[in-house]
Amino acid sequence: MTKRKVGWVASILLLLASVWLGISVGAVQIPLSTIWGGSEDATATTIVWNIRMPRVFLAALVGAALAVAGAAFQALLKNPLADPYTLGVSSGASVGAVATIFFGISLPVIGMYTLPLLSMIGAITTLLIVVSFARMIDRSLRMETIILTGIITSSFFGAMISLMIALTGEELRQIIGWLLGSVALRTWAHVQMIAPFVLIAGAWLLVRVRDLNALQLGEDRAHHLGVNVSRVKNEVLIAGSMLTGAAVAVSGTIGFVGLVVPHMVRQLFGADNRHVLPLSMINGATLLILCDLVARTIIEPTELPIGVMTAFIGAPVFAWIFFRQRRKGVK
């Protein structure tokens, strides 16, 4: 109990600290007082309000979205390696997003929300394909089946994106920069674009934490405990895809956040989703703010794509979990 309380307090403090660092550290060091102090320095105010703040907020939203989506997918599929990236859902969302940018699609009425919407549609379509294909192979949805299906899907969508890039001339740089995953040069408009989706879908998942706890024992068991399995499953898949789609729409494919964060949270504070999901949200936000900070400061003035940072952390963790799970299976 106390361990969990410490976890909550530490996670919140870490988030606040990383927000502060994210805003003040950079090519120009800015004291935090600038934010509310109304500094005479107009440049500093501009940097804080128009460059750093939207960037930090966007990183937080994207990190929270990917982490909580990963945690939910893992509970639903009883598979610690499931996350938007390894399942291929991010790639599916990318196809939607790239197509929007490539064809310059802008749907009437929803306007700027076209990009996240098509991205989400890409995400959910992919998820349905991956899960139903994997289920056709084996009903128990073993880890290897899911991961291999994710790889197949990712490769296919990767090829589709490459094709679109090859066919385009002018948009090339934008698409490539975006593909590697980045929150650079984002504005308040981007924050506005995804915030509603992240908040709604995030809250939706948090409402389902107890159902997810039951589902961690398998669908049959959950059914016997009184969970409306098909409804909860659909809700979690839709909400998870919304979060992934929204994140991918503004930041491209940032890998492994949904894998690393829930894993760490579960290791430290146990498998109860009433804590795993919200703590993953908070720490996902923190992780991405810090990764972005490192990405833009480590070899100044060059900015690394943030996806590079998460992959550096994520891939070894992925290998470690896979190793442990397989060894357990062998024993």
Partner: protein, 487 residues
């Protein structure tokens, strides 16, 4: 409580066909059947996991599909066949999930009743010591108990369990089923259990349902279902059914295919008369029923002993003394039947009688100093414990239980007749004696060769026993009297 009517269903093809049964509160129904007979499928259909193509499943008169999921889970708890994956959950967390159907609304709080139900379930199943451990760190049996606790925490009026004793050792099987039985009696729960083990089902269930290829083959109380002919037919194997030694429930025993292997024949010459014992060792165990001191009752034994003891023999702790004696002589106590007598072993009369079915060997040692008239025995408070007629009847044949009992009756009648012929009197009443206070009888059969269903005087066996026991007993009495006179 639970009513199942003409239930038919399965996957592509119907697996369960036209099954009907009911379970009342406080009752345990066991579902039995060979592999693939549809036991688990039936349970899945009753629990609503699989929909039926025909028929109904009703709980308290309402079809299960009309219940909302949580409402159904408050009525019915299900224990899966294998402990499910638990994904890093602790024992307490998993048991607490049993309270899921009792929690209403999005942010319902954990109430005292919830905590109490969880603690009670964990105490009953004895998983409290592991409360904070991850389930995956526990053994298979412990995991099984965790999910029993989860099902109990649901506090449902109906419990469905799919082979709950799989992977448990016998102590834990018994513990789990005892726990369930107590729980059922306390809370008047209705229980349906799929069983693999016919004997466990017979012991713990009020009713049994035997499935064969998806259809009901037998349904009723254990004695109606655990029946030799029915089980042999459904399982297509050889077995026998006998009553449980303590409980009024039938128990099934498998008959291995080589159980009829030819046995050796017992001859009078095989019996050794030594200074203090009359002894028979056989190659194969004989089926024995006896009133001996060591290993009385029915059993299978290779060593029969009629041992002479001093008239001053201390009879306070006979059981352990005779065991020690057997060990000291190199006999295996669990393979030995031992009688005691004060009569000299040299006075033993051993005769062999040829019969159409084989032969019978009879041995008698008789001491009639304390002979009594059984009709007047109630007049005396204490009777002397020595002075005994010990009889062995060794049969080369395959005797049924009835044959053993009839053989004992016949032998007893013959002994009484011998005493009358020899004019043995009860020295207190001066009436004809019928026996001594501590007579003992051993009937043993090789259980190979011809089947001997009966042992009364109407049969060849009974006739031989009658004649043989009278002859041998009379001769033994004469030996005894000769020995007395010499002294």
């Amino acid at each position: 409580m639970l009513n199942v009517h003409n239930l038919t269903g399965g996957y592509q093809h119907p697996i369960v066909k036209d099954v009907s049964f009911e379970v009342k509160p406080g009752q345990i129904l066991g579902i039995l059947g060979p592999n693939g007979s549809g036991k688990s499928t039936l349970l899945k259909m009753v629990s609503g996991l699989l929909s039926s193509s025909q028929g109904t499943v009703e709980i308290d008169g309402k079809p299960i599909q009309d219940y909302r999921p949580k409402e159904l889970a408050r009525k019915m708890a299900v224990l899966p066949q294998l402990p499910p994956q638990s994904f890093g959950m602790t024992v307490k967390e998993a048991v607490s999930l049993g309270r899921y159907p009792h929690q209403q609304g999005l942010f319902s709080s954990w109430k005292t009743a919830d905590e109490e139900a969880v603690m009670e379930a964990m105490q009953i199943t004895q998983v409290v010591p592991y409360a904070l451990q991850e389930i995956t760190t526990l053994s298979g049996g412990e995991q099984q108990r965790v999910f029993v606790a989860q099902a109990l925490a649901q506090q449902a009026e109906l419990l469905l369990l799919d082979e709950p004793t799989n992977h448990l050792d016998i102590a834990h099987q018994k513990q789990l089923l005892d726990t369930l039985k107590t729980h059922v009696q306390m809370h008047q729960t209705a229980v349906v259990i799929v069983f693999h083990d016919i004997n466990l089902a017979s012991l713990y269930c009020d009713h049994l349902l035997l499935l064969e290829k998806g259809r009901v083959s037998a349904y009723g109380e254990p004695h109606q279902v655990v029946d030799k002919a029915t089980l042999e037919d459904v399982y297509a194997t050889r077995l026998d059914v006998a009553p449980h030694p303590v409980e009024p429930k039938p128990q099934m025993t498998l008959l291995p295919e080589d159980s009829e292997a030819a046995g050796s024949i017992v001859r009078a010459a095989d019996i050794q008369v030594l200074d203090d014992v009359v002894l028979l060792h056989t190659e194969r165990p004989m089926r024995v029923v006896s009133s001996a001191v060591l290993n009385p009752g029915f059993g299978w034994y290779r060593t029969l002993v009629n041992r002479q003891v001093e008239p001053t023999y201390n009879v306070n702790d006979v059981a352990s003394e005779v065991k020690e004696f057997a060990v000291s002589r190199g006999w295996i106590p669990t393979e030995t039947v031992m009688q005691l007598t004060a009569v000299a072993t040299r006075g033993a009369v051993i005769r062999e009688y040829e019969a159409p079915f084989g032969s019978v060997v009879i041995l008698v040692t008789a001491g009639v100093g304390n002979a009594l008239d059984v009709s007047r025995a109630h007049e005396v408070q204490t009777l002397p414990a020595i002075g005994t007629i010990n009889t062995w009847i060794l049969v080369n044949g395959h005797m049924s239980d009835e044959a053993f009992i009839e053989a004992m009756m016949t032998a007893t009648e013959a002994k009484t007749k011998a005493l009358a012929e020899e004019q043995v009197l009860d020295c207190r009443t001066q009436t004809l004696a019928t026996g001594t206070p501590t007579d003992s009888l051993v009937v043993a059969a090789t259980q190979s060769g011809e089947a001997l269903p009966y042992g009364g005087p109407i049969t060849e066996l009974g006739k031989l026993i009658g004649k043989g026991v009278v002859d041998c007993t009379r001769q033994a009495i004469r030996h005894y009297r000769d020995a007395q006179r010499e002294e």
